[in-house]
Amino acid sequence: MLALQILIDGFAISSLYALGAIGFTLIFGVSGVLNLSHGALMVVAAVIAWWVGGLLGPGTGSVYVGAAAGVAAALVCALATYRLIASPIQKSPSIPREEKEIFVLTGTLLWGIMLQEAIAYLFTNNPKTVRPLVEGVVMILGVRTPHNEILTAVLSWALIGLLWLLVNRTRMGKSLLAASMNPRGLTLLGFELSNIYLAVWAIYGILAGIAGVLLGAFLGVSSDNAGTLTASAFSIVVLGGLGSVSGSLVAAYVVGYLETLTAYLISPSIRTVPVLLLLVVVVYLRPQGLLGRR
């Protein structure tokens, strides 16, 4: 009974972690950017979804319109992150190559703080909950499970599947893969790199936006959570191996289940501690992550 409960609860939260982290790892793999405004982006999506949904009043339609508005807001913010911060820094001639990384990190961090403060200013930092797309609960072998939790898991996996198809089965996806392996070779073949980057940032924005809205409906989100969300995506991605999509998926489940197990079997107040310790051990013993390439 307890085992089943852990299995079900861990699955939902892990799927959400996976969805949040997968876009993060994708842009790192393709464009080499570790986006520290990631958490703020998810917060923007959730809060806008809550706000627009609330403006339109009760009714099922408003939930969907709100969710769409939230995802659109995250998309706009992601493109702005690329256009205004990541791309100018990467192209800047006055920043030495070996320091691009710290500039991208600092720049996206500052941008994330700006987004977070703007949300806190406009909507207060009180946590907001997006109205779930479906209400109610169902009993799965004696474990009471909210419909919303099932929907979260299903949607996350559907999106991950779509992404897989996109990357492996379409021409655009193949050029993304190529860009992550050998950007110079791709330009020689006549591809416009900046178009590819733009596309990958758009995909990232949509993924982060959906993850944000789902998180807002599942757990609730406050602007204060931005830093934690970024840190959690960062940890998952490093644990799985930077740039490795499948590694991130595995790592998301490791983190999700480790947290759930700790919360159920030891104590909810030390929920995150074993994950941090695992992270240190993995980084020391196997810096390339669980499934990463050296």
Binding site: E99, T106, L110, I113, I270, Y284
Partner: protein, 305 residues
């Protein structure tokens, strides 16, 4: 030439700061006192990043260890302040070595993440042992450096000048040059026969020493040690922003960045909640358009790095 120009900028600035207590009120002195401690945080960070090329996301791990060691000794055993400060600095060096010895084998984001995780773990340890550490509320200290603003100001000012002098001297010494070389191209530096790892470890220990000491002094100025003041990731973020803003690889620039950051936050206080937004926006603009920072611009007006 470079040394001359630096001297021409620094000397008058220091003179003005030394005479400031005769001209301005206690409030501005209090503000600068805080800024001076942050300046030491930022300069220590710059030694590690600008010279050794290691991005330490967890300056507040070192600061926090130093501060809490000193706070616990003072709170429970009533040790005199100098002894607490010494132990705080020592503890920071030891903690720094425990973190650095394995972590320095890593590079780039991995090193960064490890230092970040160290902060989160320290925070958890403090909050979970609330019975001893005071948890969220923090520890209050029976002793403070001084109640008087001017005295506090001079303590902080002297501390900043001495630490800044040592760190700056170090960065211009042969050791600093080796560090810089290994930060830019570790393989080449090793090929030249330098023990890169050893030099980086030394840089880390020095950075830890000054961070820990400054953290300990800061809490004896504030009168309380709390997670929000010396451990929180936001503290570390401010330190990094200050150093990058002021100009990396300059040491002194980091101090200017820190004073600017604290000062701007205060001048913008009437904006209330928007203050942080505006400060971040200004910092972002500087980073995007003047990537060598305030001091980089001043020292190399021709725009060359």
């Amino acid at each position: 030439m470079l040394r001359n120009r630096t001297f021409l900028i620094v000397a008058p600035a220091l003179l003005v700061m030394a005479l400031l207590p005769f001209g301005v009120g206690g409030y501005i002195l209090g503000l600068l006192t805080l800024a001076f401690y942050y300046a030491v945080f930022a300069m220590s960070w710059d030694l590690l990043f600008g010279f050794a090329g290691e991005v330490n996301f967890g300056p507040s791990f070192l600061i926090g260890v130093g501060a809490y060691t000193a706070a616990l000794l003072n709170h429970y055993w009533l040790w005199p302040i100098p002894a607490c400060l010494a132990c705080g600095a020592l503890a920071a060096v030891i903690a720094g070595m425990i973190l650095a010895v394995p972590a320095l084998r890593l590079s780039g984001p991995y090193f960064g993440l490890t230092t970040l995780v160290a902060v989160l773990l320290l925070q958890n340890v403090i909050v979970l042992n609330a019975g001893i550490t005071g948890g969220e509320i923090g520890l209050d200290l029976p002793d403070v450096l001084a109640v008087d603003d001017t005295t506090n100001y001079y303590y902080a000012f002297a501390f900043m000048v001495v630490s800044g002098g040592i760190l700056f001297g170090l960065s211009r010494s042969p050791v600093g040059l080796i560090l810089q070389a290994s930060g830019q191209d570790a393989v080449e530096a090793a090929a030249l026969g330098f023990n890169v790892a050893k030099h980086k470890l030394v840089a880390f220990c020095i950075s830890a020493f000054f961070s820990g000491l400054a953290g300990a002094m800061l809490i004896f100025y504030m009168g309380t040690a709390s997670v929000g003041t010396v451990v929180d990731i936001a503290v570390g973020v401010n330190v990094i922003i200050a150093a990058v803003l002021g100009g990396r690889r300059t040491i002194l620039g980091a101090a200017i960045g820190a004073i600017f950051l604290i000062g701007a936050g205060e001048i913008l206080r009437p904006l209330g909640q928007l203050a942080t937004f505006v400060v971040s926006a200004v910092a972002l603009i500087v980073i995007l358009f003047f990537p060598s920072g305030f001091l980089g611009r001043l020292l190399h007006p021709e725009g060359r790095e």
